[in-house]
Structures are given as structure tokens and as C-alpha cells.
Amino acid sequence: MSLLIKNGRVIDPLQNIDDTLDILVERGKVKDVAKGLSAPDSAEIIDAKGCYVTPGLVDMHVHLRDPGLEYKEDIVTGTRAAAAGGFTSVACMPNTSPVNDNKTVTSYIVAKAKAEGCVNVFPVGAITKGSKGESLAEMGELKEAGCVAVSDDGHPVANTELMRRALEYAKGMGIMLISHAEEKSLVGEGVMNEGFVATELGLKGIPWAAEDVATARDVYLAEFTNSPLHIAHVSTQGALRIIRNAKARGVRVTCETAPHYFTLTDDAVRGYETNAKMNPPLRSTADQEAVKAALKDGTIDAIATDHAPHHLDEKDIEFNLALNGIIGLETSLPLSLKLVEEKVLTLPALIEKMSVNPSKILGIDRGSLKPGSAADITIIDPKAAWTVSADTLASKSKNSPWLGETMKGAAAYTIVAGKVVYKRG
């Protein structure tokens, strides 16, 4: 079974390719990338004229809610949402029920994803048992079972000594540690960014210092232990300054941000909009600008969605009681493409942040169209206009702040191991 993708603008940052080319796929792998390729008669042919053809997008931070919280999302619907959003691989966080802190849960995720998922699923295991922050999880066993990183996402590792040991231990196991950097004592009962909007709405604020202080701690621990560290969902100018400085002096730190942090500010909370409630919270305009600048100068390595599905009842409620988080898999691509339009990133640089770098950080063999690599390919129609609607979102949950809004740009085809798993329209 072969597939020929013709006439697209092929962008492969790892091979330094940005040109109108054809791609031939055979037996699930990239066979050739060149001009004027021909295919065997039996080949399926996709005309990608006017589209971008890129290594399959990788979202290194999603919540699939499976096992245990399938009423919000499961591996089937979550991977469908990923495919619809142009993602061929996702890394899923361990805050399931039970927590993915042992090989049984990891194996369940791997097996179910293989059997029923439509994109690659790379599980992230917990740093500490139950993500309780008390003792280290069995990271070696987690890695063996298929975890590509460890994180207590949703809960910061509060104990600094334990965090130090976690970084050292993860390094020994050769597994990336992803920090959810948040100083809880500063967050208190805060429900949105601390600032003018919170003051006017009478909502308890979360100071940016809660993120900065925790980021500084983890960066210094990474430096001290000489261990690799990845920081999730960075949202503040202070945290970015810390990471930028650390990178400059050679600390092994990488980080990601999410589309909502470069698209929205805490102004979106007005009207007590629970679909603008997330953790870290939407920040100020200055932070939003800092995130864009850090995308541009390379301080931010990756764009991840932190796709966080919640049931209607958990969002259609008074603001203080609503759960944190929004879905993001299906809106990430058009929101991120805006960065190209705004000249924050070149198109190849965007693909680096949405495919190449997350693959590198997680140590997964993805993010390239080199002959011989897995034929995970996203064909992007940059002109496609569509409206975000609860009826058409593939995710089981509909907690998006962009419902009703028109987006520009979409995946035309999502191809995993040479197989079309999503086709638009």
C-alpha cells in the first residue's frame, strides 16, 4: 500500500526543506521526498496543492482522562480530536484515576491506544507515587512499560529535596522530567490571574510570582543536579526570563507554552467566563507579549495544548467552583498559524515547535520526513475557514473559549504511519 502526496509545500526543518515537493510513502514509512515523483498504479494520490506538508504534529501535553475519567474524554475520542487537529502523536499526562504511576496503568494506555486510538499515544508517568509528592514513582519500570517522560502535572512537587532527587533519578533512568511549576502557598484560593481584572471582578488572584518562584527553584535544581528539565505551560514574563538566562548559561532546560497564553489575556475572564479558567491562569498583556517574544527568540521550545477536557457540569457553574482547563487539540493549529501571520515565527520555526522539538524533548522518533522514518504527516490547509462548534468538535468535552469563533487554517489530512486517519470535509 503506497501513498503519494503531490504538489504540496513540504516543510521539514530537520532536513532544511521548504519547497514544493512530492512525498512517496510505502509500507508506513517515508520512501522519498523529491520533485516529480511517480507512484505505482495502486497508490493512493493526494493532491496537496496550496497546502503545507509537514512532519506529523506532536502535542507533548494533553489529558486524555483515560482510565477513570472517561466521562470527560477517553483514548478513542481524545485521539480523534488529536487527528482532527492535525496531531499524529500526543503525550498524555498521568493524572488519571488511578494515577499513571505504575506499569499496569501505562500498559493499559499503550494497549488501548494501539487497539482503538487513531494517533500515537505516548504516556507520561508520574514523578511521585499517586502524584502525592511524597515518594518517587518507579520511573524505570514506567519507562520500560512505555512512558516517555515523568510529571506530576496538576500538582507541583512541593518538597524541594524530593524534586532534587526526582531530577537526579530521572536522569539516571534517561527519562525527561516535566515540571508543573507552581508555588501553591502563593496561589492560595486564587482562581484567576492577580491584576486589575481580578480586582474589578472581586475574584481572588493568583500572582505571577507563584509561577516564577517555582520555575526558579526547578531551574536551579536542574542546574545543580545537571539534569534535563522541561517546564510545562509557561505563562509569565518572569518565568521566561529565568529560563532564558538559564539556557544562556547552559542549563539543560526546555519549556513549552500553550496557544491560549499567546492568544488570550485575563480579560477573557470578564463575564465570569469559566472557559477562560485555567491553570496557570490567563495572564496580562505584558505576559502575552513576553510569550510571543520567547517563541521568537527560541526560549520557548514547544507549543503544547494542555488539552484539558471537562464535562459541562464542571464548567457551567459559578466561577469559583468551575474546574481549571480547556480543550485545545482542535484549535491549536489555527491559533498557532496566526503566529506566522503576525511574523512571530516563520512557518518552519512553527513546525519545529509543534513537531520537531517536542519529539526531541520526549526522545521519540518523530518530527521528520527523512526517508525511512515513520510516515506521520500532516497536510495543512492554511486557507480553510471554519467555525468552532460544540456539534462538530471531536473531543467528548466542549470546554473551549473559542466556541462560535471563526478559525483560519486546519488539517486537511492527518496521516499516521502512512494511513489517513483524518480527512477534512
Binding site: G195, A198, T199, L201, G202, L203, K204, E318, N320
Partner: protein, 311 residues
């Protein structure tokens, strides 16, 4: 001019003209309250539910009297906090109440914005009797009415608001209302109790000390310290608080000679106000309470679609 809103949730949402209309109506209502028979048939047949998730005998009673003087039927419901934790959501409760066909729900709730949540989903009028640290519009209006009684205007007044601004819905409603009416507001309190960005709330100056705020003020409005909210981190002791942020006959001299002293009540005597000040000539605390009924009558009247007839 008619009143166009279904609900009254925040003075932030009202224009200067709408606030004036409410104040003018309240003045007319005050006349009813001074009659022998303090009752008019204006809202006869209307059902008003006072839904109080937080206890407040004063505000609830004031709304209840206001409703009765306009001949409405008022029912008080105080859901125990336990019923909320038993799993009945605010929306469930409200839907159940809706089935009883009220015309107006007057609600107090501990969560900021809870009223917007209901107002979006229910057809009846919602009046905010205090939501979290957001707004307390009837208090703001009665405070403004009391100031206007004394000065004949609000434009150009210097108003000092002192205390825990962060947690105060009274402060927010007053700031929103007063700055729209052209007053200048000066805030003071321990920096642990002044919210981020407060200076952007309109014509507001955040002062470094209480003395700076009350210097030359026409009105000194003291906020209630809510002991349960301060925890261990916002204040060392009440003794120290009253020394630096309490109003006493000495520092009151910094204000204009016959400045008004106001407090939303209940007063922690000796903390926010010394008793000499609370019971002194300059205190307007009781007038605030009196104006409360008239202001609430005006609010009930206008959300019911009333038009103020020309004099």
C-alpha cells in the same frame, strides 16, 4: 427615562444617569416611609424571593421591608450551606424556585459573579444583595444617597475609603458609583488589603497612609474588617490594625471640619471606629441604614419595569 435592565448586579454595569434615576426614585420612596401608613400598592401581586446564602439579617430585613412597603409578597429562603454541599447546584436551586414563579430574586452569595450566572439563565429579575468580593450595589447606592443628602451633590467630593478593600464588595460598589458621579476616591489600608490594580478602578488614588487619604476629605468611609477572612497573613493583630488604620477623634481632625463618617456595619467597635466617632456628631451610620430601605424600594420598583412619573 425608563430603567432598561432586567437585573441589578453591579454599579459597574449602570450609567451615571441610571444611578441618578435610582437615587431620585429612592428620594421619592423616602416620602412613603415617613407616612403613617407606610405602604403603597405599586408591586401588589409580585413575588419576591430573598435568597440568602450568607447570613445577613440587616440587608435581608431591609429588602424585606422594602418589598412589603411596595405591597409585594416577600419570602425569605436561606439555603443551608450544607444543601449546597449535598450536591444541589445553584442552578438546580434556582430552577426549583423558578417553578414557584417569582418576579424578583434578591440574592446574597459568597461567590463573586454568581448573580450573572443566574441572571443569564433565569427569566426573572435578579438583584444583587452582595456577591463575594465583587459588588454590593444597594449598599453603594444607599451610601451615595446619604452623601448626596448631606452635600446636595456627589460631584467633586473627596471620599476616603479605609480598610480591607481587597475583600470589600462595599468598597467596589462605592468606587464604581462614586467615580461615575464625579467624586474623587482615596483608598488606604494595609498593602496586604489593597488589591492589585486598584488605582485603575476609575478616579481612584491609592494612598500610602490613612492620614494621607483622610486629609481634607468630605467623607471618611471605614470598611469592616472581616476577622474570619484575615487569617494569619494579612494582619499582625487587631490592636495594631486599629492603631494605624482605625478612625479616632484625633485623625478625624485631618478631614474637613464637618466631614461625614460612614461605615456599612456592623461595626467592630474599637477596631475600625472608636466609639467616640461611631456615636459622634459626624457619624451618619444610622442615616445609612434608614436610606437602605428607600434605595431597595427603588431597585425593586425599577427592575419591575416602573417608570418614574414626572414631578
Amino acid at each position: 427615562m425608563g430603567f432598561k435592565h432586567k437585573d441589578i448586579i453591579a454599579l459597574r454595569d449602570l450609567t451615571k444617569e441610571e444611578i441618578l434615576l435610582l437615587l431620585d426614585t429612592a428620594e421619592n420612596m423616602r416620602e412613603i416611609n415617613s407616612r403613617d401608613i407606610k405602604k403603597v400598592p405599586t408591586l401588589r401581586g409580585k413575588t419576591i424571593i430573598n435568597l440568602f446564602y450568607e447570613a445577613s439579617t440587616r440587608t435581608r430585613t431591609s429588602f424585606e421591608i422594602a418589598a412589603k412597603r411596595l405591597s409585594a409578597d416577600a419570602v425569605n429562603i436561606s439555603p443551608s450551606t450544607s444543601s449546597a454541599t449535598k450536591g444541589e447546584t445553584l442552578l438546580d436551586t434556582a430552577k426549583n424556585l423558578m417553578a414557584m414563579k417569582p418576579d424578583i430574586i434578591v440574592m446574597r452569595h459568597a461567590i463573586s459573579g454568581a448573580h450573572y450566572f443566574l441572571a443569564k439563565r433565569l427569566p426573572c429579575s435578579i438583584i444583587n444583595a452582595g456577591d463575594g468580593a465583587h459588588e454590593h450595589p444597594s449598599q453603594g447606592l444607599l451610601d451615595m444617597l446619604t452623601m448626596r443628602d448631606r452635600f446636595g451633590k456627589l460631584d467633586g467630593l473627596k471620599v476616603a475609603i479605609v480598610g480591607d478593600v481587597t475583600h470589600s464588595r462595599v468598597a467596589r460598589s462605592n468606587i464604581q458609583g462614586l467615580t461615575k458621579m464625579g467624586s474623587q476616591v482615596f483608598l488606604a489600608g494595609p498593602p496586604t488589603m489593597i488589591p492589585t490594580g486598584a488605582e485603575k478602578l476609575g478616579n481612584v488614588t491609592v494612598c500610602n497612609s490613612m492620614n494621607e487619604a483622610i486629609d481634607g476629605a468630605d467623607v471618611v468611609m471605614m470598611l469592616r474588617i472581616q476577622l474570619e477572612r484575615q487569617g494569619k497573613t494579612l494582619l499582625p493583630t487587631l490592636k495594631e490594625y486599629s492603631r494605624y488604620y482605625g478612625l479616632n477623634p484625633e485623625n478625624l481632625k485631618l478631614a474637613k471640619k464637618d466631614a461625614m463618617v460612614m461605615h456599612p456595619g456592623p461595626i467592630n467597635r474599637g477596631v475600625e471606629l472608636s466609639s467616640y466617632v461611631a456615636d459622634g456628631d459626624q457619624s451618619h451610620v444610622m442615616k445609612q441604614v434608614e436610606n437602605g430601605v428607600a434605595v431597595r424600594m427603588a431597585m425593586l420598583y425599577h427592575v419591575s419595569g416602573g417608570e418614574l412619573t414626572a414631578e
